[in-house]
Structures are given as structure tokens and as C-alpha cells.
């Protein structure tokens, strides 16, 4: 902006003089960098470190580097039942490099792009170090491979990590591709982020109609997952758990957990609050009635009600033992009981009961399930870790079984070496991981969990669709249920989840997208934080007596939902804690916040919390100064430096509640309240996909949502390596352009480098009547020039198999006719039997002439000596099918995993826009091409410019997409000015400035031009809103949809026409259409449509018995006397027969109508 001002002013000397004045338009020459305007530079710095898919990478890196070691540690020993001396211990685990290899080695099979092309899995070996006994000796073995791990692209185990663009080009990889997905069997698979209710936290809910309050907690450990409830029933409180047959009165549970004194129970649950005490006191009567006084009695009571599912062979437990087991491990499983110290568990149960009592007294104390702070996001790493632990346990138990089998044999010739039998099972881990990722079926034995649809194929329709998929969050919530709560926009979503980007229809609000500046935490160690809390003045919970626990002013300190102590000065505690975090002593992702309703300080270190960076504020001034920003711009500082210096910090949703965040720096001037944080940039409330929209803050909200869905369907550039890719189906735009009106987000996500659309000159006017219902008028000359032109490439895979009898498929050359020319089907083939590059393939022509041996099924052992040379083959060519011809783009021949030849043929079509192709602007305004008009007939302006697109003005009033109008004006100003303008959300180029440019260039401030009719040459009666708007061509094209059929294939069972275009199906006259025809009275048409044209069938019916016969013979009556031949739908005949098979005899009674 300032540059432009400079240019304009510089034209006259006077204006130039003005610049030399110490003060120019209120700005001094020595002005500081404006922190308010320049702080947005933190955003590119953030994205540089974090990237858009950092959450996936972080999570995977954490899994590979930390979690794997924990899993190994938890399952480190393999022992034998036969030989007590034998053991095998896992010492260490590594993925992708050996212990001896130099640091930074990344041992992957092949570069990722080669894996994509060759249908392989991009993986790296998993090495373990083991220590085991062989005879008497203890042997250490390093770098034992136990399987292969699929590697997430761009993770720290991937060869693409940290390499330059040039090196990327060598690997045929696009530097803009975000990574974060896997390549399994050649397909790119994403593990979508899953949203769940947080684990190990108490959630209190109330059903006021039923008068039920319940506190529930889902305990999740490595070993088990279970849910414990504390519920009210007739105002009495019970504990409910799946493995306990009936609900246990809360007092008995607490007694079983060692709190035998009624006074203590009352103090723990109610404190000294008389209201709570009144509500709770009934529960004591219940326990007294049941005569449970001591811990042992209570344990017996619980033990008696435990549902025992003991496997055969396991020791039978006494009632008391069952009770102890239930209290210690089953109920609230995530709290472990050591040394018989039940107190922590008792306190947890008491806390749950307290929350229930509090809610009974004040129903407003319930928790909100939909609140983002109560949600956790499950990422690829966590899911992989669950899967790996399961597979590893299976691996170990298989291994153990194997060892036992060998050791059991009394006489062994050689000394037993365990390593010989460990390799047998290494395929299990590899295959298990591969299968889960490629099918998306996560089945975990230990949780008895079966989850389908965890992974998805990465959509490569355009760069944005791939990016949009990486930031997508899917909810575990059922789509079919009609509830509004989980779908509604949550206020706590602000800045964390995109407010616009969600699909329409059944998944609306359940599928969300991450906002631009978010981070998802990974697990952090609890122990050091706990220690730190004690040092900061938190009193250990084991030393606190029940009387003081809930006394006034005492705040409980909760670490990941578990009470670890109390503190009387919570604000000091919290501020001390934050100080340590801001100095980098604790991980920046640990959050702490006070909940004054519960008198609690909550500290969270668990993974899956969404958080975002904010600028710290002190005394209503941001801590970031111009100096800091200069360091950033000079490249001296990176984003992490801001964290280390305590200028920026991450806040999760819960901690946001503890802070006052200013949107703009100016909000803090003269403000009465003390702000704690400052927003880095307000447009980060939107995600990557919604960030493409120019001026979204001027649009009606649903329009932005529509654009988010459509932006993912736009055809454009996919990646720098797009012409090296061989995907099932790819769309390329031939001449993509970056938008005239950009946003900051567009630049940040490099959409301007891989755009999906073109700047079309749009005239908003009515023309020809072929523009009703949002249809567009296209300029033929623009289409000739390449507007909206795209290419569609489709992959065809042919495998040449080998058969057990040593025969194999071959490719044979083209066949020629008597003139020596190739026969019509083989015209595209070369002498090698493969389609020639660039050859045109028409419907019915062959692009690979594959032949299979005629004796493939014969056995190996048979007569193989008789005819070794006379191997005969039968042609099974791959035919091209399609209304329009294609051209052979690429042919790839390779060898896949199982040593079979793999041929991929890529066929290309170039398409120009035609009637019915779908286009859309970036404001959720889609339309199909209604007519293509010669340029001569289109209106033109003074400069002779005629529009590329004419859009009907009726598209505006009801849609209220004001942003589109501003985009036009900004775009027009940019075109005239030679600059790219910005339409960033809550900012961007100002309309006034744009209008000023237009006026300066001799145009109307309003963007309206005088146009002349192309037909009459007269000027049009009204000024026409005229200028460039960025238009996207959507993937829905008429060529892929058009379909008609007279006769064709029929389904075997019903003899009705098949369904669907791909099967050359018929067009259905459905129920509603049938109703219309009935209403109209066109009975003969009905008869023709429903039977004659569909599945008419001649049937012989016996008029005597009413059943069907055949060949004029009734099998029931054994006569041909009363047979009448008539026509019925085959489906009706089928129905009768099916009824007969169910012992129902439908009999037809025939009569004459006329």
C-alpha cells in the first residue's frame, strides 16, 4: 500500500518534497516497526517450524522415538514356562537405523515416489537389541529386525526430512507436498485425526427429566479401557461399572477403598457444606442397612457382585480377592494402587461423588461434552502405537509358544538359540501394520476394539483437497443421529478449529478442520511435573486429612484429572508455574488453569489437546516489541526463540478460559481490564481451506462453508511432480493462474504456487436467457484461448502373472491385416504390445495386448515334459471404453512385490469447457455453463474488452456474497495498477483504496463500466459491474456424467436393466415418477415403462390351481388343460417363486377385462 502511495506522490515534485519533511502523513521517517501491523510475521515463522500437518508428523515422531521405547519397556521380557532359566529381554528399539549406523541415517526401502509407482509400502526396518540366554550364556544381540514399519512422509524417519528443494526434485518429490501420510501398497493413506471425549477426566452430566446426575470417567491405560460411573438413583448415589453386576452404594465403595469412617466419607465428599451434607447423608443409611461397616465387609460386598470372566486355568479367587482386584485394578483403572495404598483411588471416587453432589445441589455444575476443552484428538501416532503394541504382544506370545515347543522336546541335538525362532514371526508385525493402514480396520485384541474406516485414501484432486484432508478431524459421533449439540459451532472452537470448514448434510458439524495456527500436543511426562508441583507448594494428598481437604480457600491441584494435592494460594501457584513454563523449564504444551467452581487447579500434560500460540501481554502492552520483530525479519530469530524468551506461549482451550485475550493491540489502549494475551492474527480463526476466500468477513456465513466444500473439488495444479504421478484418476488444469486477489493464507500455504482456477473477467448482467438458475455464459474465444481447459488422466493397471506350472502371462505385439497395417483394435499398439506414447485410443481399442497361457490351470506334476515348447496363449487384451478417445500419456513397466510384472498405462484426455460443466467462484457460488457465445456477440467495454464469463445478477441478492463484489473491485484495481491485492479475512486491501485506484485509472469507483452490445453495437442501458473474479472449474464435468441407453445389459437375478452409468444402466422410472404417470392416467405408458421396457416375461399359468407351470404344462395339476400364457414382470415371477420357497403359495386368479 505504502509503495503505491509513494509512486503516486512521486509523480509531482511537490509531493516528493513532502516526503523529506520529518513528518509525513503522521508518520515519522524513523518510525519503529509497527508491532500492531507486523506481528503477523510470526505466522509464517510458526508455519515454517510447524507446517500445516505438523500435528501428524509430531505424533508419528513421538510414536517412533518415545512411545515405541515405552512399549518395549512394558513388554520387555519373554519367559518360558518350560525352562525357568530362559529369558529374552528387549533392551532398545529403533526404526530406520542400526545402532552402529551414523546419526542421521535413514534406512528406507526406496524413495517414496518409487513406492507409489511400484505399488510398494514406504517402510523402514524395526531393529531391536535383545539379551537372551543360550544354554548358560547370556548373549546380547543388536540390530535384530523384527519387522518393517510404514513411514510417514516427511517424518524424521523419512528421507525427505530436512532436505532441500533440489534434492527433493531428485527424488521426484514435490517440495510443497506437506507429507503426513503413508504410502502403503502404492496408495497414499491418511490416518484422519479422530476427535474423542477426553480420557481419564470426570465428566458430569445431568438428565433433569429423569432426575439423574452422573459422573463418568473413561479410564484408559495401555492394558485396558473401561468406564466408571457414579450415578444417582432415587437421590442415592451408586457406583456403576461394566464388570460389576449391580450398582454399588457409594459409601460401600469408599469403605472398600479403605475409608471406613462415616465422618471421613462425609468430609471427603461434602466438606463442611451443610447443603451437600444434607443431600449425601441418605447414603450412609443404605450402607448401614446392608450392615457393611469394615473394609473387609465392603470388599466382600463388592467381590460378590463382580462378574467374573476367568479363563480356564486361572486361579479361582475368593470373594475378598475379587473385591480387592475390582477396587485396585478394575474400577477407575488409570489410577494404580501400589503398596495397598487405596487412598488415591478413594479420593478419586470421592471426588466423583462430590461432583455429583454438587450437581444435585446446583444443576448448573454439569460439564459440557461438546466443549472443545473436554475433547482430545487422536492422531496417527497414537493409533499406530495401539496397533503396534497389540502386534508386538502377539509377536511375543507367538515367539514364546514357539520357544516352549522347542524347549519341551527332551532331546535336542543342538543348543537352543532363541533367535532362530524369532524371525519366523517378523512378517506378522509388517503385515499387521500394512493391513491395518491399507484397509483402515483397526482391531485391537486387548481392548476388544474393532474400528473401521480409520484410514482414507489421500485425495489428490488438487493441492487444496490434499491439504484439506490432512487438517480434517472426524468425530466418533454417529452421523445418523439427529442431534444438534455436537454439530453446533462451539464458542471454544475459536482459533482452534475452523469456523467455516465443515461439510453439509449428515456429517455437518461432526467433521471439522483445524484452524491455521493450531498445535496438537503429544504426551508429556507426568512425574517431573508432579515433583515440581510439590516444590511449588502443593501439599501431597497422602498427607492431607479429610477435614481440611475441602476447607475454605483450599484448592485441589489436579494433574491430568487426578488429585495430587492441595494448595492455599492457587493464584501464586499458577503464576509460578506459568513463569517456569515461559522460561522453558517445563514443556510449553503443559497447561494449567484454575476452576473456581470446583476450587481446583488443573494441570494437563496429556496428548491430543488443541492449543495455539498467543502473544503475552504485560500491563496491557504486548511483550513483543519492534526489536523482536526485526530480529525475526532478519532471520536472527525463529518462532521457538519467541517461546524461549517468554514472548509467546501456547494456550490450550481450558487455559484460554483463564485469560483475557485482546484481538487487536488497540483494544488494550485505555482498557480498564488487564489483558493477558494478544491474538497474533485474527484471520487464524479460519483454516487453510477457508483461508482461500477473499473478504470472507463480508460474506454470509454459509457461503464460506459452501466454498470450503467446493475449493476441494476445483481442478488445478496438484504438485510439482504431477506429471510424474500415475494415479487412478487425476485432473490437471492446463493454464492455472494465481488469484488476483490473494489472502495471506494463500501465500502461507503456497496456493499461489499450485493454484486451482483462473482469473475470469466477469460481467454481472443478464444475457440470452441461458443464464437462469446460476448458469454462466462463457466466451468461446476465451475457451479457445484455454480458459477452463483441463486434462484428465486415468491409470490402468495390468499385472502379468506367473503360474505354478512355470507358465506366465505375456504381452504380444499387434496383429496386422493383409495390408500390413494394424487391425483397428490394435492401432494404438506398438510392436511390443503396449500402447505407444501419444497414440490415440478409441472406444474398443486395445492399449495392452496381454495374453494368458491356455494351460495355466494345469498342475505342475502332470505331463510337463510332453509339450515344454508349445506354450499356447490366449489374448486377454485391455480394451479402452469411453465415449471420447484418450491418448496414451505414460506407460510404466515394473516389478511389484511378488516378482510379477506390473504395467501401468496412463491415458489422457484434454477437455475444454462445454455446456453443463460446473464452475464456481470462491464465494460458494457455483453454476453450470449454460451457453457458449461467440466473442463477437458479447458486450465489450471502451477498451474493447469482452467478458470471459457473464453471470446473472440474480445470483447476488439472496446469496449476499458481498465479498465477491469486493473481490471484483480489488481485482480490477489490481489489474489496472499492476499489483496483486489482498482480500485477507478481517483485513486486506481496503475498498476505499481500491476505488481510489479505479478512479485514478479513469474507471468508476463502483467497478461499473459502460458496455456496448456485441449484437447491436449500441451501448447498454445500464452500467455493468465488470471486472476479474477468480473462477474455479469443478471436477463435475458433463463428459463423465452423460449417459443414455436404449437397450443393454440386464441383471441376472431380476432380468431388469442394470443400474448406474458405469454398468451402462437404464434410467429408472422410480416410485415418484410412477405416481406422476398414474396421476396423469397414462396407463399404457406405465405398462410399457414398468414391464415391456424392463423385464417382461412370458409365463404359463394354470387357471385351475393358479400356480405357474412351463411348456404349457402345469406341474401341480399334471395337465395342460387350463394353461394360459401371459406376460408379467420377471420380478413378479421371482417373487412368487421366492414365496413358494417359504411355503406360501401365491395363486393367480385370472379374469378377462374386456
Amino acid at each position: 500500500m505504502s509503495k503505491r502511495k509513494f509512486k503516486v506522490e512521486a509523480e509531482s515534485d511537490e509531493a516528493f518534497q513532502e516526503l523529506f519533511q520529518p513528518e509525513y502523513r503522521g508518520k515519522k521517517l524513523t518510525d519503529e516497526i509497527n508491532t500492531a501491523d507486523d506481528k503477523w510475521n510470526l505466522l509464517p515463522a510458526f508455519l515454517k517450524v510447524k507446517g500445516l500437518v505438523k500435528q501428524h508428523l509430531d505424533s508419528f515422531n513421538y510414536f517412533v522415538d518415545v512411545d515405541l521405547k515405552k512399549i518395549i519397556g512394558a513388554n520387555e521380557l519373554v519367559l518360558s514356562d518350560v525352562d525357568p532359566e530362559f529369558y529374552l529381554k528387549y533392551l532398545d528399539i529403533r526404526v530406520g537405523h542400526k545402532s552402529s549406523s551414523t546419526p542421521g541415517t535413514k534406512e528406507v526401502i526406496l524413495p517414496p515416489h518409487e513406492c507409489r509407482l511400484r505399488d510398494l509400502t514406504y517402510s523402514a526396518p524395526i531393529y531391536v537389541d535383545v539379551e537372551y540366554t543360550r544354554g548358560r550364556k547370556i548373549i546380547m544381540h543388536k540390530d535384530l529386525e523384527i519387522g518393517r514399519m510404514p513411514i510417514m512422509l516427511r517424518s524424521n524417519k523419512c528421507i525427505l526430512d530436512g532436505i532441500t528443494e533440489k534434492q527433493m526434485a531428485k527424488f521426484d518429490e514435490c517440495p510443497l507436498d506437506p507429507g503426513g501420510y503413508f504410502v502403503v501398497n502404492g496408495t497414499e493413506k491418511v490416518i484422519l485425526v479422530q476427535e474423542q471425549l477426553s480420557k481419564n477426566r470426570i465428566i458430569v452430566e445431568a438428565d433433569e427429566k429423569k432426575n439423574i446426575v452422573q459422573a463418568s470417567v473413561t479410564s484408559s491405560t495401555h492394558e485396558r479401557k473401561s468406564k466408571t460411573y457414579v450415578i444417582t438413583k432415587n437421590d442415592k448415589i451408586y457406583l456403576k461399572h461394566n464388570s460389576i453386576g449391580e450398582d454399588i452404594p457409594i459409601v460401600i465403595v469408599l469403605k472398600a477403598a479403605g475409608i471406613t469412617s462415616d465422618l471421613e466419607i462425609l468430609q471427603l465428599v461434602c466438606g463442611s457444606d451443610p447443603h451437600y451434607q444434607d443431600l449425601f447423608v441418605v447414603n450412609f443409611e443404605e450402607a448401614a442397612k446392608l450392615e457393611v461397616f469394615t473394609q473387609q465387609q465392603a470388599l466382600n460386598y463388592v467381590g460378590k457382585r463382580v462378574k467374573t470372566i476367568r479363563r480356564a486355568g486361572a486361579p479361582k479367587l475368593s470373594q475378598l480377592q475379587e473385591g480387592i482386584e475390582a477396587i485396585a485394578t478394575t474400577i477407575i483403572a488409570h489410577i494404580t494402587v501400589s503398596d495397598l495404598q487405596f487412598r488415591e483411588k478413594a479420593l478419586y471416587i470421592a471426588t466423583m461423588a462430590r461432583r455429583v453432589v454438587m450437581t444435585m445441589y446446583n444443576p448448573k455444575m454439569v460439564d459440557d461434552r461438546d466443549y472443545v476443552g473436554n475433547k482430545r484428538l487422536e492422531l496417527a501416532g497414537q493409533l499406530m502405537s495401539l496397533l503396534f503394541e497389540d502386534l508386538f504382544k502377539k509377536f511375543n506370545s507367538d515367539f514364546k509358544a514357539n520357544i516352549d515347543k522347542i524347549l519341551k522336546k527332551p532331546s535336542r541335538t543342538s543348543e537352543f538359540d532363541a533367535l532362530l525362532s524369532i524371525n519366523i514371526h517378523s512378517n506378522n508385525i509388517t503385515m499387521g501394520l500394512n493391513r491395518a493402514i491399507s484397509t483402515g480396520n483397526w482391531s485391537l485384541k486387548r481392548f476388544k476394539m474393532e474400528r473401521a474406516g480409520v484410514t482414507h485414501v489421500l485425495s489428490r484432486l488438487s493441492y487444496i483437497s490434499a491439504l484439506g484432508m490432512m487438517t480434517r478431524i472426524s468425530s466418533q459421533f454417529e452421523k445418523s443421529r439427529k442431534v444438534s449439540g455436537p454439530r453446533a459451532l462451539q464458542p471454544s472452537q475459536f482459533g482452534m478449529l475452523c469456523t467455516s470448514d465443515t461439510p453439509e448434510g449428515e456429517a455437518c458439524g461432526l467433521v471439522k478442520n483445524l484452524a491455521l495456527m493450531t498445535h496438537i500436543t503429544t504426551d508429556d511426562e507426568e512425574a517431573p511435573i508432579k515433583k515440581l508441583c510439590y516444590v511449588l507448594g502443593c501439599e501431597n494428598i497422602l498427607g492431607i486429612d479429610s477435614a481440611t481437604l475441602h476447607s475454605f480457600g483450599n484448592y485441589g491441584i489436579y494433574l491430568n484429572g487426578t488429585l495430587i494435592g492441595t494448595n492455599r494460594f492457587p493464584s501464586k501457584f499458577v503464576s509460578d508455574f506459568r513463569k517456569l513454563r515461559r522460561t522453558g523449564k517445563i514443556s510449553e504444551f503443559v497447561s494449567i488453569y484454575t476452576n473456581s467452581h470446583q476450587n481446583a487447579v488443573h494441570i494437563a500434560t496429556d496428548g491430543g489437546r488443541i492449543c495455539r500460540p498467543l502473544i503475552l501481554v504485560e500491563n496491557n502492552r504486548p511483550k513483543i516489541t519492534a526489536d523482536h520483530l526485526r530480529k525475526l525479519l532478519d532471520g536472527e530469530w525463529a518462532f521457538d526463540d519467541f517461546l524461549i524468551h517468554g514472548l509467546v506461549e501456547y494456550l490450550d482451550v481450558n487455559e484460554e478460559n483463564d485469560s483475557l485475550i485482546a484481538l487487536y493491540e488497540s483494544d488494550m489502549d485505555n482498557a480498564e481490564s488487564l489483558f493477558t494475551h494478544l491474538e497474533i492474527e485474527p484471520f487464524t480463526v479460519l483454516g487453510a481451506v477457508a483461508g482461500l476466500i477473499p473478504y470472507p468477513h463480508h460474506n454470509q456465513s454459509p457461503r464460506n462453508t459452501y466454498q470450503c466444500a467446493m475449493g476441494k473439488q476445483a481442478i488445478g495444479a496438484i504438485a510439482y511432480n504431477q506429471f510424474r504421478r500415475i494415479d487412478t484418476l487425476l485432473y490437471f488444469m492446463v493454464y492455472p493462474q494465481q488469484p488476483m486477489v490473494k489472502t495471506k493464507t494463500i501465500e502461507l500455504i503456497d496456493y499461489d504456487k499450485l493454484p486451482a482456477g483462473q482469473n475470469a473477467t466477469v460481467a454481472v448482467m443478464s444475457y440470452s436467457g441461458y443464464d437462469i438458475e446460476d448458469a454462466l455464459v462463457l466466451n468461446k474465444a476465451s475457451i479457445d484461448r484455454g480458459f477452463g481447459r483441463c486434462q484428465v488422466v486415468r491409470k490402468n493397471t495390468i499385472q502379468l502373472k506367473r503360474y505354478p506350472n512355470h507358465t506366465k502371462d505375456v504381452v504380444s505385439g499387434m496383429r496386422v491385416d493383409e495390408d500390413g497395417k494394424a487391425i483397428f483394435p490394435h492401432q494404438a499398439l506398438g510392436p511390443d504390445g503396449l500402447g505407444e506414447i501419444g497414440a490415440r485410443v478409441e472406444n474398443g481399442q486395445v492399449y495392452v495386448n496381454k495374453c494368458v497361457p491356455t494351460n495355466a490351470g494345469e498342475s505342475v506334476l502332470g505331463h510337463n515334459e510332453q509339450s515344454p515348447s508349445a506354450e499356447s496363449h490366449r489374448e486377454t487384451p485391455a480394451y479402452y471404453k469411453g465415449p471420447e478417445p484418450s491418448y496414451v500419456d505414460q506407460v510404466m513397466m515394473s516389478v511389484s512385490d511378488n516378482d510379477q510384472a506390473l504395467i501401468k498405462v496412463l491415458l489422457r484426455q484434454t477437455r475444454r469447457p462445454e455446456l453443463g460443466d460446473k464452475f464456481s467462484s470462491r464465494h460458494g457460488q457455483k453454476g453450470v455453463c449454460g451457453i457458449i457465445v461467440q466473442q463477437e456477440d458479447l458486450p465489450f467495454n471502451d477498451n474493447g474488452i469482452s467478458p470471459d464469463i457473464i453471470m446473472n445478477p440474480h445470483g447476488f441478492p439472496s446469496r449476499m456474497t458481498v465479498g465477491k463484489m469486493i473481490e471484483l473491485i480489488s481485482g480490477k484495481a489490481g489489474v489496472l495498477n499492476g499489483s496483486l491485492e489482498y482480500g485477507t479475512c478481517f483485513g486486506g486491501s481496503k475498498l476505499e483504496d481500491m476505488s481510489k485506484i479505479l478512479v485514478e485509472k479513469g474507471f468508476s469507483y463502483s467497478g461499473k463500466d459502460m458496455l456496448y452490445s456485441g449484437i447491436t453495437g449500441e451501448c447498454l442501458q445500464a452500467y455493468i459491474f465488470f471486472g476479474p473474479i477468480y473462477y474455479q472449474k469443478l471436477k463435475h464435468m458433463v463428459l463423465d456424467k452423460m449417459h443414455a441407453r436404449a437397450r443393454g445389459p440386464r441383471a441376472v437375478l431380476t432380468r431388469q436393466p442394470t443400474e448406474g452409468r458405469s454398468r451402462d444402466g437404464g434410467l429408472r422410472l422410480g416410485e415418484m415418477e410412477r405416481d406422476c404417470v398414474i396421476a396423469y392416467g397414462a396407463s399404457q405408458l406405465l405398462l410399457e415403462r414398468l414391464m415391456i421396457s424392463s423385464d417382461a416375461f412370458e409365463v404359463d399359468i394354470c387357471n385351475k390351481c393358479g400356480l405357474m407351470g412351463y411348456n404349457s404344462w402345469c406341474t401341480t395339476c399334471k395337465s395342460s388343460e387350463n394353461i394360459i400364457r401371459m406376460t408379467i414382470p420377471y420380478a413378479a415371477k421371482l417373487l412368487f417363486q421366492e414365496l413358494l420357497s417359504m411355503n406360501i403359495a401365491p395363486r393367480l386368479k385370472l379374469g378377462d377385462i374386456f
Binding site: D81, G258, I259, T260, S261, L263, E264, F293, T294, Q295, Q296, Q297, N300, R311, A312, G313, A314, P315, L317, Q321, I324, E325, A328, T329, T336, V337, S338, D339, L340, Q341, R343, K393, K394, N396, S397, K400, A401, D404, K445, R446, E525, A527, P528, K531, L532, Y534, V535, L536, G537, N540, L542, G543, D545, S546, A547, D576, K579, L580, K585, I586
Partner: protein, 260 residues
Amino acid sequence: MSNQLFIEEDEDTNIVADPEINISPDHEEDPIIESIPIVLNDISSDQNNKFQVIQYPGRQKNRPLQGNFYKASVKTVTNFLEVKMPLDTTKFFNGHKIDDWGEDIGEQTLNGVLNKTEGGLYAAKIIKQDGHKKIVLVPIDSTAQLRASFKYIDDVDANNQAQRKAEATDTTKSTNIQILQTASKSGAQITHGDGFGNALGESLKHIKKFEEEEWAGLKWESADGTMATSIRQEAFLNAPDSELITESDLMSYVDDLTRS
């Protein structure tokens, strides 16, 4: 092993957190009035003496323990403490219940798990010696909260149950057919079949260990007893005169803490 000193809760009022961690001494609001040297007397080197805080949350402050008739014993491996005290049968004692619960309710049993402190808990005393003040800190080994156990009720229950069981087995004799069947398979093989089963839960194993361990008797001393006085003397008055000086500065201390 035998000689442990118990400090009653009321006496040990000043459990101080580590004094080094005044993260941000706000100098203006909180001026230093007086500096007192701190002396750390680590008596844990002496294996026989340990400071342990014992709380009895069920008893009110204005009803301190009296008399010398207590018996204490401990299971050191499984960290369990038991104190037996005579029952005051004069107050709130329902004599009729003796009929139900047997006549040997002579004493009340209190027990609790000893929780090891991970450092940071100290017993402290300000000592004035020839005009000099000093604070003596003695690290506390562990804390325990005692709760009443009613073994006599459990015993009655257990007796009843055993009786019932005996009656039940009399009537139906052959119940162990099932066991024979399962025993024919090798048990361990099955439980570990899928790799996810384990025979006895961690807590049950611990109980087994607990039951196998012998009680070690302790000597009970009242607060003003000779031994208690001498130990107190040793712990506080005879503390070495070397002042505790921190060598690590605040930040390195915090680093030490937060390093995982």
C-alpha cells in the same frame, strides 16, 4: 530396626516445604526481616532412627492420645504400620455388642500404609543457642494416616462364612469335577495364550507378600519419655553447627527438577 520415633500430628505443626524454592521473592512487598541459618540434620544415616509423621484423621485435635499403653508394629517390606491402643470402654461403648462380636475387644487397632516422602518434607525446630537462632531440619522418611480397623467384626464374618461353607460342602460333595477337567490342560499355556492374560493381579500379589511378612514390634514412647527426649535432643539440639548453604542456584535447581 526397632527404635522408631513417632511424632504425633499436633506436635509436628511445621512441615515446611523446601526453603530454596521461593521462585520469585518479591522484594518490595515481602521484605527480609531476619535471616536465620538453616541446619540440616540428616539422621537417616542412622538406620535405627527415622522420622515419620503419623496422622490419625479420625481423632479430634482436642482429644490427644494419652497414656503409654500403646503397641506398635510394622511390616517394613510392605510398608504397613499398626498401632494397638486400649479401648476406652467407659464412653460410647455398647456393651451389648460384645455378645455379637466376641469378648476380646480389648483394644482398638489402627493401621495405615507408610508413604515414603520423596524428600522435601522436614520436621523443623527453631533453636536459640547463646543468642543465635537456627532452624534445624530433619528429613521425614515417610508419612502414614492411621485408620481404625475392626478385625473382630471381620473375624466374626469370616467364622460365619467358613461355617456356612462347611455346611454347604457337606450337602453337595462333588464340586471339583470342573477343576479336574481344567487341570488336564496346561494352565499357563491357556492364560498366556493370547499374550494378554496374567495370573494374579498386582495388588493381590502384594497382599500375598504382605500376609507372608512377619510383624516387627516397635517400642512406644510417649512424647516426654526419656528416649523420645534423647532422640529429640540428638535430632535438634545436638545438630551439627554447619549451616546449610545452597550450592546450586535457583535455575539449576529448577532444571534439576524438571529434567525428566
